[in-house]
Subunit: 219 residues, 2 copies
DNA sequence: CACCATTCGTTGGTAATACAACCGACATGT
DNA sequence: ACATGTCGGTTGTATTACCAACGAATGGTG
């Protein structure tokens, strides 16, 4: 097996785990590294899952189809992101989405049951891995809660100000950059880009906010 | 300490833990049971937190104030629900909301660091507690993902059908009950109740859905 | 410099939603 | 019977958002 640690070392699941430990870990957990060709399906919606997936290389799409047969892309997963962890860790056991390789992709599969079961050798990384998993789940939780807080607002104005106010709080300053361009910000807030632009202009003319490109100032 | 196990036994964090183990656990983890009077503040926004909170009795409100000073209720926490777990488990360490007792409340505080650190006695419940915590975080994750999928839709019609389709999928039937009345459904989808009612009537007249009270049928 | 792609602001018409207000059906308690 | 409260549907209006289209500014490239 080629060394995939460099690709995954920045994964939240592996923080604090060295390259040496990483390889020992893969052996102990009997992790599997599989390759999927472009367009190939990794999982079908409803499949029983026991493994957490780590994207080493390539790009995955999570797809969901409603009961009328309409398909939509839920998310894109890029290295070194993780997928299926919520379904696996919840004990739910069934994946609510399909997973397909958008490009030729390499995925590392780790059996969650082996993670939470202390092995006979009681390897040192078990505890660390579990803490990392908890931390990753909790972080995603907090990010989603924050996003919820913005999206549940009724108007574009409220959504935008809720988001900007939140960033300002985090950055401890009323002057800050955001990591999105207009289209990405519109997608994040799930509103129309042009409507967002218009609302921003309005707020700027009212003196509520000021901005240029992705730098913002709140009054 | 009075016996609080009956109030908490149905908590996801304690599934599979017996009453006897529970009491031993509280001792080992040095859990603290505190009482808060009506209106009293449990945590202020931004407070450093290390303890997961379990509401034994009473009712809590999570409050958030934006940088302009507007306050809003984020959620209500009722027994035997848990709170602050995301902030604590993420290693973030700071709470993004304030917590106040809406009624006189009893809260059990459990230090997360003691949960993930195997004790000298290596009590048997540690592993179970950790698995329960992971499961709880993952479940919340999945519920929020599902809700996101509905709320990010642009129109009331899409939001509603996305939700109903999802429930139908879970129930494996196109005829099912939902656990909300109109106002609650509107709140969940974050739309106006009357606008939701109007849209529902329209869909019924078009033959797309049928419903009476909280029972629905999809075509 | 000319060319192209990308990003962002603007505009005008149309559609959808929020909001407030009201009504009827139903249940409960006096 | 009556008052009261809750719940859900309906209506009219003002507001807001979507959509498509266009143009200006920007930055990279041959």
């Amino acid at each position: 097996m080629i060394n995939i640690f460099p690709q995954l070392s920045s994964s939240p699941l592996l923080t604090g785990i060295s390259g040496d430990n990483f390889n020992a870990m893969l052996t102990c957990l009997r992790a599997k590294l599989n390759t999927f060709g472009q367009g190939e399906t990794v999982y079908y919606e409803g499949d029983p899952v026991y493994d957490v997936g780590l994207v080493v290389r390539g790009r995955l799409h999570l797809l969901k189809s409603d009961i009328w047969g309409n398909n939509s892309i839920v998310t894109e997963i890029n290295p070194p992101e993780m997928f299926a962890e919520a379904a696996v860790c919840s004990g739910e056991g069934r994946l609510p989405v399909s997973v397909t390789a958008k490009e030729k992709s390499e995925i590392l599969f780790i059996d969650y049951r082996k993670v939470v079961t202390t092995c006979p050798q009681s390897c040192g990384f078990h505890a660390k891995l579990i803490r990392n998993m908890i931390s990753a789940l909790a972080r995603k939780n907090m990010m989603m809660s924050a996003k919820m807080g913005h999206i549940t607002k009724r108007s574009i104005k409220e959504k935008l100000l809720s988001y900007l106010g939140d960033v300002a709080k985090q950055k401890l300053s009323k002057s800050f950059d955001i990591p999105y361009n207009r289209q990405e910000l519109a997608d994040y807030l799930s509103v129309e880009r042009s409507a967002l632009s218009a609302e921003m202009s309005r707020l700027k003319s009212e003196g509520v906010i000021d901005y240029r490109k992705n730098h913002f100032k709140l009054q």
